[in-house]
């Protein structure tokens, strides 16, 4: 993605030798991308900021283990994804509680009288999608978002999450199944309205 990978390796070497300016270079070079990934996964600006911070702290702590077999950006991305997963797990209880309220709202949204002007609005479907995504387990949500938005294969997702490719595929299947169960009627109606 960036022409600075060779430069990254130099910076890693210098940072390992105690050069804080070199680590600063890595932080400045990768923050934007890590923020985007963190936001995709957490869906919250504040949580994404926390993930960025934690990811760089962990990277600093584990810098001596970076062996250069993958690109530094890939290695850092993996750390950030796992930080986001940890945060999602920590917040799981809160999210679960909120999900009950969201589900109720979602069901009400789906069961309302069909109103073509309203159902055709993609923003409403988008809002429902976000609610369903929040209700997924951290593994399902992360695997699905890495697959759907970042285009990672099952094998890549498995490597990032430290699980087998089959397990990452199953996590995506479960996520899609839940999306279908929750959104099916809504999307079909929206489809009929826009085509009818």
């Amino acid at each position: 993605m960036r022409g600075m990978e060779g430069n990254d390796l130099e910076l890693v070497e210098q940072a390992r030798a105690g050069d804080s300016d070199a680590f600063r270079g890595l932080v400045e070079g990768h923050s934007q991308r890590i923020f985007r990934t963190a936001f995709r996964l957490t869906g919250s600006e504040q949580n994404a900021e926390d993930v960025v911070q934690e990811a760089f702290l962990r990277a600093y702590r584990k810098l001596h283990l970076f062996d250069g077999r993958s690109q530094f950006g890939t290695w850092l991305h993996r750390i950030a994804v796992n930080c986001a997963m940890d945060l999602m797990r920590k917040e799981g209880r809160r999210i679960q509680r909120e999900t009950i309220e969201e589900r109720t709202e979602l069901e009400a949204m789906v069961n309302r009288e069909p109103r073509p002007d309203r159902m055709a609005e993609s923003s409403e479907v988008g809002q429902a999608v976000q609610q369903v995504l929040l209700s997924l387990s951290p593994t399902e949500r992360t695997a699905f978002l890495l697959r759907h938005f970042e285009g990672h294969t099952s094998a890549e997702i498995g490597r990032i999450l430290g699980i087998r490719p089959g397990a990452s595929r199953n996590a995506v299947f479960r996520a899609v199944k839940k999306l279908r169960a929750a959104l099916g009627p809504m999307v079909e109606e929206s489809h009929e309205v826009s085509h009818g």
């Binding site: 600063r24 932080v27 400045e28 999450l161 279908r180």
Partner: protein, 256 residues
């Protein structure tokens, strides 16, 4: 492929079906499959990426300014994972080790036996070996203490610790074999006990529940492993310090 499942269709949607061409033909030929695939596509196409808030071009610099004080704090701790960093010089020590560790264990640490080593540089080699084994035990102790002292709810990423355990396991095996060959059952037993734990860590998952760390603490307490590692490590260090100073090359190799 006998029947086309929803999982097949999901993989096809994402371009990951192993038999995509055949599946494509079957979908094209079957109204039922077309209906199912279109329904799936409708759902997945509706999952659009939310708008990601823009960050200022100087965002990276802002992140650094928030991060820097925490890194400084980390550097000032008494010890850090950096201490455990595998060193290139280790290869030099390991090569020497393979040749003389058996004789070293047999001839110096325990009652002397009939061991003949070249007179030149023998003390230097011994010193390296004693301090290297001591350092190995120290690194292992740090790893175990770090894990045992981790207090975290939920699951915990130990990928870095796992990798380190793999490296230490290989070293530990070498020492254990040497101790066994020289008939020193107590040291071999300690290294075997340590190795079992390192193998568990190295072969275990990268993400583990905090309850597993609780199990580790129990294991460490029950076996008095940390205590034994400290005692033996301390004894080896003392033995090493009692010998002739190493040459500058030896000192460089061991980084002491």
């Amino acid at each position: 492929m006998k029947s086309v499942t929803d999982e097949h269709l999901i993989l096809y949607y994402y371009g990951e079906a192993s038999d995509a061409e055949e599946l494509g033909r079957r979908i094209e030929a079957s109204a039922e499959l077309q209906r199912r695939f279109e329904a799936l596509r409708g759902i997945l196409d509706s999952v659009e990426e939310p708008e990601i808030p823009e960050r200022h071009p100087s965002y990276g610099s802002a992140v650094w300014h928030r991060l820097a004080p925490q890194l400084e704090q980390r550097r000032s701790r008494r010890w850090d994972w950096e201490l455990l960093r595998p060193r290139r010089e280790w290869a030099l020590v390991a090569a020497t080790l393979l040749l003389v560790v058996g004789a070293f264990l047999a001839g110096r640490l325990w009652p002397r036996q009939q061991v003949e080593l070249a007179a030149v540089g023998y003390d230097g080699q011994e010193r390296i070996l004693l301090l290297t084994v001591a350092k190995h035990l120290e690194k292992s102790e740090m790893l175990l203490v770090e894990l045992a002292n981790t207090r975290d709810n939920g699951e915990f990423d130990i990928s870095a610790e796992r990798q380190l355990a793999g490296q230490l396991r290989s070293d530990s095996r070498l020492y254990r074999q040497a101790a066994k060959q020289s008939g020193q059952a107590d040291v071999a037993a300690l290294l075997e006990q340590l190795e079992r734990l390192l193998v568990e860590l190295a072969n275990g998952p990268e993400i583990i529940p905090s309850s597993d760390l609780g199990d580790l603490r129990v294991l460490l307490d029950e076996g008095d492993l940390l205590f034994k590692v400290r005692v033996v490590g301390s004894r080896l260090r003392e033995e090493g310090r009692g010998l002739k100073n190493p040459t500058s090359e030896e000192r460089f190799a061991l980084d002491v």
